[in-house]
C-alpha cells in the first residue's frame, strides 16, 4: 500500500513537471522546487529580473492543476481590502438590506502576488496573514481560505526605487525563496522557437486539485532517521553566530541566523524529494539539495558581509559543509 502511494506521488510529480516544461524552457530546478513547495503546503517567493518567466511559470502551474487561480498585481496604491475583500450592502429577495462579504482575489487555491514588494507593508501584511493563519478576518469574522492554498509571490531584485522590501519576519513565512536566473543560450533559443511560432504551447490538467491535499498528508508520513534530523538542526544552528561551534564564516558574516521554520522547511522539503525519488525515507542528500532555497532568505548578513558583497548561497554551502564536519565530531574512528 505504501509503495503504491509513493509510486502514484512520483507519477503525479513527474506529470506536473512534464506539463510545466512544455511551456517553461529550462529552470528545471525552479520548477522542481515550486512543486516541492506545493506538496509541502508552503509558499514560494520567486526573485528575478523581469522577463524570465516567473509569472508564466505560476500561470502554467495553475493551468496544470484543477484549482482556482487568481493573480494580484501589487502596486503602491493597492489596499488590503483589494486583496482580502470587503463588506458590501446587499439586498435579499424580500428587499431587506444587510452586509455581505465580497471575497477578494486572495480566496483562490493558487494566488500569484506579482511584484509583492511594490505594495505598502499594510497590504503585504494582509496577504502574509492569510499565508500564515490560513484564514482572513474581516469585521471580526474569520473566512478560511480554500485548501490547498498556495501563494507564489514574485519580486524584482534590481528595481528598488519605490518598493517596500519585505521585512525578515515576513520573508520567514515563505518556505522557499527561489532565484530565477537568466536562461542559457540553448534555452534562450528554445524559448524563441516556442514563443514565436503560430501555435502556442498549451498545458492540460495533470493532477486533480483534491489530490494535492492527499499528497500533503503522505509527505508528512515519510520517516526520517535521527541522524538526518540532527543534520538539519545542525545546519540551521550553524547559521547562528552565537553558537559556540559556529563556523568561522558564520561568525564573520552573519548577523542573524535562520529560524526554526528553516529546519522545518528542510525536513519537509527533504520528504518530498524522497518521495519523488521513490524512497520511503529522507536522506541527508535530500536535505542538502534544498538548503539554498530554504535558508537564503532567512539569513541576515552583518555589515562586513554586506560590505564585502558576500553571496548568501556560497555562504550557505560553506555552512553546510562545516555542519557536516560538526555532526561527525566526537564519533569513534569507525563511525566518522
Amino acid at each position: 500500500m505504501g509503495e503504491e502511494r509513493v509510486e502514484r506521488f512520483g507519477r503525479a510529480f513527474e506529470a506536473l513537471r512534464g506539463e510545466i516544461q512544455k511551456v517553461i524552457v529550462g529552470h528545471d530546478d525552479i520548477v522542481e522546487q515550486v512543486l516541492v513547495c506545493l506538496f509541502v503546503g508552503g509558499h514560494v517567493l520567486l526573485e528575478g529580473v523581469p522577463g524570465l518567466g516567473k509569472t508564466l511559470l505560476v500561470k502554467t502551474l495553475s493551468g496544470c492543476l484543477d484549482l482556482s487561480f487568481s493573480r494580484i498585481q501589487f502596486t503602491p496604491d493597492l489596499m488590503p481590502a483589494d486583496i482580502i475583500g470587503t463588506n458590501i450592502i446587499g439586498e435579499d429577495a424580500e428587499g431587506r438590506r444587510h452586509f455581505q462579504f465580497q471575497r477578494g482575489p486572495i480566496f483562490a487555491h493558487i494566488v500569484l502576488a506579482d511584484e509583492v514588494n511594490r505594495a505598502t507593508p499594510k497590504t503585504q501584511s494582509a496577504l502574509l496573514e492569510a499565508m500564515q493563519e490560513g484564514n482572513v478576518t474581516v469585521s471580526g469574522t474569520a473566512y478560511p481560505v480554500p485548501v490547498p492554498f498556495f501563494v507564489l509571490a514574485t519580486q524584482n531584485p534590481i528595481e528598488m526605487e519605490g518598493t517596500y522590501p519585505l521585512p525578515e519576519a515576513q520573508l520567514d513565512r515563505f518556505l522557499f525563496k527561489l532565484r530565477v536566473r537568466y536562461p542559457a543560450l540553448e534555452e534562450l533559443n528554445e524559448i524563441i522557437e516556442r514563443t514565436t511560432r503560430a501555435e502556442e504551447p498549451t498545458v492540460g490538467h495533470a493532477l486533480p486539485g483534491d489530490q494535492v491535499s492527499g499528497f500533503k498528508e503522505l509527505v508528512r508520513e515519510v520517516p526520517i532517521a535521527s541522524h538526518v534530523r540532527e543534520l538539519a538542526s545542525t545546519i540551521v544552528t550553524a547559521t547562528h553566530p552565537q553558537w559556540p561551534q559556529a563556523p568561522e564564516v558564520t561568525r564573520r558574516y552573519i548577523r542573524y541566523g535562520a529560524s526554526p521554520r528553516a529546519a522545518q522547511a528542510l525536513v519537509l522539503g527533504g520528504k518530498v524529494l524522497a518521495l519523488r525519488a521513490g524512497r520511503f525515507n529522507v536522506s541527508a542528500e535530500d536535505l542538502k539539495a534544498i538548503t539554498l532555497p530554504a535558508l537564503r532568505h532567512r539569513i541576515i548578513l552583518n555589515f562586513e558581509g554586506e560590505a564585502e558583497g558576500i553571496d548568501v548561497d556560497q555562504l550557505i554551502l560553506q555552512v553546510v559543509e562545516a555542519a557536516e564536519v560538526e555532526a561527525r565530531r566526537g564519533k569513534e574512528v569507525f563511525f566518522r
Binding site: M1, G2, E3, R5, V6, L218, E221, V222, P223, I224, A225, S226, H227, V228, A277, R279, F280, N281, V282, S283, A284, E285, E332, V333, F334, F335
Partner: protein, 479 residues
C-alpha cells in the same frame, strides 16, 4: 517479520565486524606502545640480568592485550553499523532509518515499505566490505621498536658511566672540611645557631601611601611635580585646557613658597638606602646564613650615613652591632642592626616622610617654628590645613628661600585682580622668561580671536554654537 530479522542480522553482523576491526586497531596501537616501553628494561639489562627480555616481551604483550580488550569492550550502537552499510552501498540512509523504526508501534504503511525495501537491499550483500581496515598511526613506530628490541637483545648489557651527575648534597665529611677551612667566625656560628631559637624582629618595609593625583615617583628636576597633589595634575596641557584651566595653574605657580623642593631626590633618603641594603642582605636566607662580611659592610655604611646627620639616634645601635659582630655574636649583631633601622625609619617619618619641600617646611614652621615636622605627624591628615587648601586661611603659604637664593631659576609672580571674575595677573621671572616658546596670554588672545572670526565667517562652526563662541571670546577680552 522476515525483513526485520534480515535487517537485525545484517546490522549485528556488521557490529561484530566493527568489534573485530576495532580490536585489531587498538591492539596494534597497544602493541606499538608496549614494544616501545619494553625497550626500557632492555636498556637496563645490566641491572635486571636475564629477566630483562621477558619483562620487555611482557610489556609488549600487555600493551597489545589491553588494546584488544579495549577495542572489544567499546559499545556499538545499532544504528551506527546501519549507517556504515548505508554509506558503503549508497543506500541513502534507508537501513539506518529502518533500524530506528523497527521498534515503532504501530508502523505506518511507509515505514513497513521502508523496512521491506531496506531488507531487500542488504540481503545478499558482502557485508565484510562494510568496515574497512584502519591502520593506527602508531604502526609506523612498530618496526622501529621491534628492530630496536632485537638489537638490544643481541647487544651486551649497556653500562651507564658512574659519577656522571655530581652529587648536589655534600656529605657530612665534606661539610665539616669546608667549615674547617672557613674563617673563624664560622666556628662560632654553630654556637650562635644553637642560641637562635627566639623569634627575630621582623624587618618590614613601611612604604608611604601615595597621595591622590600623583601618578609616579618624583624625580630630581621633574618640574611636573609642581602640579602634583592638585586636581589638575592629570590634565593635558593643551591650548583649550589652558583657556579653561590656565588660571588654576597660574594660581598654583603663584604659590611658589608651597612648592616642593625639586632639587632634592626623595627616593634616596638615608633610611631607604640602608633599608634596601638590609633587605638584600637578609632576603630569603636564614639568620645563620648571613654573611658576617656583608653585615659588617652594612653596619659600616650605616655608620657613614650617621655621620651626615641623625647618627646620634642610631649610632649607638650600630656600634653595638659592630661589637657583637667582632665577637662573633651574629644574632646580637642582627638585632642591633634592626634597632638602628627602626630608629632611622622613625627619624625619617618625623622629618615628613621623605617629602621635604617648601610646603612641608611651611607646615612645620606654622605649627612649631624652628622644628621640621613633629612626632607622629601625618601628611594626609593635615592636608586640609595646608596653604591654599581646606580650612587654612593662609592661601599662599610661607615663602620659599630656594627661589630667592637661586637667581638662575624661574619663578612666577602674580597679583590678584578683581573683576567680573577673580583673575590673576602673572609674570614669569628668571631664565624661564627668556624661553622663546613663551607666549604671553594677552598677546596670543588677539590671534585666536582673529582665528575665531575666520572660523565663524567660513561657517566651520555650527550655527547654534556661534553665539556661545562669541560670548566666550568677549568674556576673555573683558579681563
Amino acid at each position: 517479520m522476515r525483513s526485520e530479522e534480515a535487517i537485525r542480522a545484517a546490522v549485528q553482523r556488521v557490529g561484530r565486524i566493527v568489534r573485530v576491526r576495532r580490536a585489531a586497531l587498538y591492539g596494534l596501537r597497544g602493541l606499538a606502545w608496549g614494544l616501545t616501553t619494553g625497550l626500557i628494561p632492555l636498556l637496563g639489562k645490566a641491572g635486571l640480568g636475564p629477566a630483562a627480555l621477558p619483562a620487555a616481551l611482557a610489556l609488549a604483550a600487555v600493551g597489545g592485550m589491553a588494546g584488544i580488550v579495549y577495542g572489544l569492550l567499546l559499545p556499538v550502537p545499532l544504528r551506527e553499523p546501519a549507517r556504515l552499510v548505508d554509506r558503503t552501498f549508497r543506500l541513502d540512509d534507508r537501513l539506518a532509518t529502518a533500524v530506528e523504526h523497527l521498534g515503532q508501534v504501530p508502523r505506518g504503511p511507509l515505514v513497513e515499505a521502508l523496512i521491506e525495501d531496506a531488507a531487500d537491499r542488504v540481503r545478499d550483500r558482502d557485508l565484510g566490505a562494510t568496515v574497512p581496515w584502519r591502520w593506527p598511526r602508531e604502526v609506523r613506530i612498530l618496526p622501529a621498536s621491534a628492530l630496536a628490541l632485537w638489537v638490544l637483545v643481541l647487544l651486551p648489557p649497556v653500562r651507564f658511566p658512574e659519577g656522571v651527575f655530581p652529587s648536589l648534597t655534600p656529605s657530612g665529611e665534606q661539610e665539616a672540611e669546608r667549615q674547617a677551612q672557613s674563617v673563624p667566625v664560622a666556628q662560632d656560628r654553630r654556637l650562635a645557631r644553637a642560641r637562635e631559637t627566639a623569634p627575630r624582629v621582623e624587618v618590614q618595609e613601611r612604604d608611604y601611601l601615595r597621595r591622590r593625583g600623583t601618578g609616579r615617583e618624583t624625580q630630581q628636576g621633574d618640574l611636573s611635580a609642581i602640579f602634583r597633589d592638585t586636581n589638575i595634575a592629570q590634565r593635558r596641557p593643551d591650548f583649550s585646557s589652558f583657556l579653561k584651566h590656565g588660571d588654576d595653574r597660574l594660581k598654583i605657580l603663584g604659590q611658589v613658597e608651597s612648592l616642593p623642593d625639586l632639587q632634592r631626590d626623595f627616593t634616596q633618603s638615608q633610611f631607604r638606602v640602608a633599608f634596601r641594603r638590609a633587605k638584600r642582605l637578609l632576603a630569603g636566607i636564614r639568620p645563620d646564613q648571613v654573611s658576617p662580611e656583608k653585615l659588617r659592610e652594612l653596619l659600616d655604611e650605616m655608620r657613614r650615613l650617621g655621620r651626615r646627620g641623625g647618627g646620634e639616634e642610631w649610632g649607638q645601635d650600630v656600634w653595638e652591632g659592630s661589637e657583637a659582630l667582632a665577637d662573633g655574636r651574629m644574632q646580637r649583631a642582627l638585632e642591633a642592626m634592626e634597632r638602628a633601622l627602626s630608629r632611622m625609619r622613625a627619624m625619617e617619618e618625623r622629618s615628613g616622610k621623605g617629602l621635604e619641600g617648601g610646603r612641608d617646611r611651611g607646615r612645620g614652621q606654622g605649627r612649631n617654628p624652628g622644628m621640621r615636622g613633629g612626632e607622629g605627624e601625618d601628611f594626609g591628615e593635615y592636608e586640609g590645613s595646608l596653604p591654599g587648601k581646606g580650612t587654612n586661611p593662609d592661601w599662599r603659604g610661607a615663602p620659599s628661600t630656594r627661589l630667592a637664593q637661586d637667581p638662575l631659576d624661574s619663578a612666577v609672580e602674580g597679583q590678584p585682580r578683581r573683576g567680573r571674575r577673580d583673575a590673576f595677573d602673572t609674570n614669569l621671572l628668571g631664565k624661564g622668561s627668556r624661553n622663546p616658546s613663551h607666549l604671553p596670554y594677552m598677546s596670543v588672545y588677539a590671534q585666536y580671536r582673529k582665528m575665531m572670526e575666520e572660523a565663524l565667517t567660513k561657517e566651520t562652526i555650527p550655527l547654534d554654537y556661534r553665539t556661545q563662541v562669541k560670548e566666550y571670546f568677549r568674556a576673555l577680552e573683558e579681563r
